[in-house]
Each structure stands twice: as structure tokens, then as C-alpha cells.
Amino acid sequence: MQIKVNNQPMVVETALSLDALLKQLNHLEQGVALAVNRKIISRSQWGSYQLNDGDNITLIKATAGG
């Protein structure tokens, strides 16, 4: 199935969990947060949350700023 992560299209296996996606992307570190189709999913739900075809994932992290 096809999803987008930060507007970048990618093809991933069906019924992938958020946890597994972030592991693939190497972004399971602390300090990141994400939303699927603009709905924020808390870290505790990443393991059980299954992605669907066409999902749009926003992945953010903290950076320097004033």
C-alpha cells in the first residue's frame, strides 16, 4: 500500500503498525511526535495502530529555536 510521510510517498507492506513504520524509518527515538491524517496518535498507541492505504503521516521533532 502507499502512504505519505511528511509528504514523501512510500510503499509499505499492508497493515503496518506505526511502531514498525518508525522502526523502518529509524525514527523511534524520544522527542518525536506524529499525526496520521492530522490526528495526533500518542506514543502508547503506536504499537496497536495499523496504517491504511493513503494515510498521510506527519512526523515532527524538537529542534533549536527561541
Partner: protein, 259 residues
């Protein structure tokens, strides 16, 4: 001690993490400043880029130095985006503190008061400790207080300009009227600007660029720390009144009249 929402701070100098030339220097300067509240921004993870870990050294020493995090919503152009950013920040950093920054215009980065008020009302109702970055507008600050913000952060001059307290007279009114802490944010360019804000009765100041872009950021951080302590002490000691005429500080007895 300064109390904002449910946290108390022994330092009245808040700092930002932007513009430092490297992450270790940032951590060293912020720790030297004694600051206990540190701002940071959010960004989308760039999947094509190597992971940057600019906040790494600072976050590693977070517990040891009692550093609290204050994520900002910089990049948000309206209330809806700021509310979304605040919720992402809470997830990412595990804090309910948020600095609302909504500045649609990149030239002067002046905050949009209408969108800021809307965002603050919603986020305060959601249980966030909201610290809005605003123009030095006493009426707006009272309205923000009514919707439940934890503090107000009026600007001295545009972000990063180092122009000092161009809004001084209005900040004075805000301080006089406010029943939430007043944190002077933006434009503080030198330790004397920070001392002045504290002498006027500000509860704290937020300094980023002036420390980050100094030739020696660690020494400048210490200078700001000292200035904030001096300014606060002077405020509490009560400044003497001003007068256009001289008021003698030595006795004017005519002891030389014999000559």
C-alpha cells in the same frame, strides 16, 4: 521564587536554543546562564537528511540542571495551526508548557494578536500552561489573562533585532496591570536591557539571540544571569524617584564662607 502554572523557578532568566553555532556551546551557555526554562521549536523530520541532534547535549543535562522545556509554535500562521503544533509538542516533549508564537509576516515576525488570543483560549481550556508571545499591548494582555494564560510575554522589539526595550512604556503598563507573570521576550540585546526590564518589575526575561550570537556565548550568558539578578534586586529594593532638578547629596552648609 517565580511561579508559572504549576512550576517554580529560582532563575528569572529564560533562554532560547536558536542560532548557537554548535550544540555543545548551546548546552554550555544555557547551563552557565542558570536558566531553568528553555525554549525550542518543532520541525518536520526530513527523511532524506541525516538525523540532526542539535538539542542532544542540552537534553542530556536536563535533569541535572533542572531545565524545563518550553516548546514554541513558531511556523504557525493561525490559531488552528498553533493548537495543532502545541499538541504535537506536548506529545514530543512531554510538557504541557507551550509558548504561542503566531507570526504570519517573516520580515518583522510580529505576533498576530487575534489568532494568538483564539489559540490561547482553546489551549488554556485544554489544560496547557500557555505563554503567549505578544506585542506590548496592555489591553491584549488583560484579555489573554481572562482566557487563562499562565503568563504573558510582551516583546521589547522585533525577534533577534537586539534593539532593546523599544516598548518600555507599554511594558510598564502591562507590569502594573497584570495578575499573571510578565516575561519580557524578544529584542533584549544586552545585559543592561535585561537589567532594565527587571528593574521595571518584569517577572522574568527571555533571551536567545543576544547570548547565542555573542562572540563568547558562555561569558555572555553569565553576564545576563548577573544582570537579571541585579535588576530584580534593584526592583525589590525600590528605586529612588527621579527629578529634573538636582537634589544635593552633600551638605550645602557654607563652611567656606570664612575665606
Amino acid at each position: 521564587m517565580l511561579k508559572i502554572a504549576d512550576k517554580t523557578f529560582s532563575s528569572r532568566l529564560f533562554t532560547g536554543t536558536g542560532k548557537f553555532s554548535n550544540s555543545q556551546l548551546m548546552a554550555d551557555a544555557i547551563i552557565a546562564s542558570g536558566s531553568e526554562l528553555v525554549t525550542m521549536a518543532l520541525k518536520r523530520v526530513d527523511l532524506n537528511e541525516q538525523q540532526d541532534n542539535i538539542l542532544g547535549p542540552l537534553l542530556d543535562s536536563q535533569l541535572e540542571h533542572n531545565l524545563n522545556l518550553l516548546p514554541n509554535t513558531s511556523g504557525a500562521r493561525n490559531a488552528e495551526e498553533a493548537i495543532y503544533a502545541a499538541q504535537l509538542a506536548r506529545e514530543a516533549l512531554g510538557t504541557h508548557f507551550v509558548k504561542i508564537e503566531i507570526h504570519p509576516d517573516p520580515k518583522y515576525l510580529l505576533p498576530d494578536p487575534i489568532e494568538t488570543l483564539k489559540a490561547c483560549e482553546t489551549l488554556s481550556a485544554m489544560g496547557f500552561a500557555v505563554l503567549p508571545y505578544v506585542h506590548a499591548d496592555p489591553v491584549l494582555c488583560k484579555r489573554l489573562e481572562e482566557v487563562g494564560v499562565a503568563a504573558v510575554m510582551p516583546l521589547g522589539s522585533p525577534i533577534g533585532s537586539n534593539l532593546g526595550l523599544k516598548t518600555k512604556d507599554f511594558i510598564q503598563i502591562i507590569i502594573e496591570q497584570s495578575s499573571v507573570p510578565v516575561v519580557v521576550d524578544a529584542g533584549i540585546g544586552s545585559p543592561s536591557d535585561a537589567a532594565l526590564a527587571m528593574e521595571m518589575g518584569a517577572d522574568a526575561v527571555l533571551v536567545n539571540s543576544a547570548i547565542a550570537v555573542a562572540r563568547d556565548p558562555v561569558q555572555m550568558a553569565i553576564a545576563f544571569k548577573d544582570a537579571v539578578i541585579a535588576g530584580r534586586r534593584a526592583f525589590k529594593a525600590g528605586l529612588g524617584g527621579r527629578s529634573l532638578q538636582a537634589k544635593a547629596s552633600s551638605p550645602l552648609t557654607a563652611f567656606l564662607d570664612d575665606f
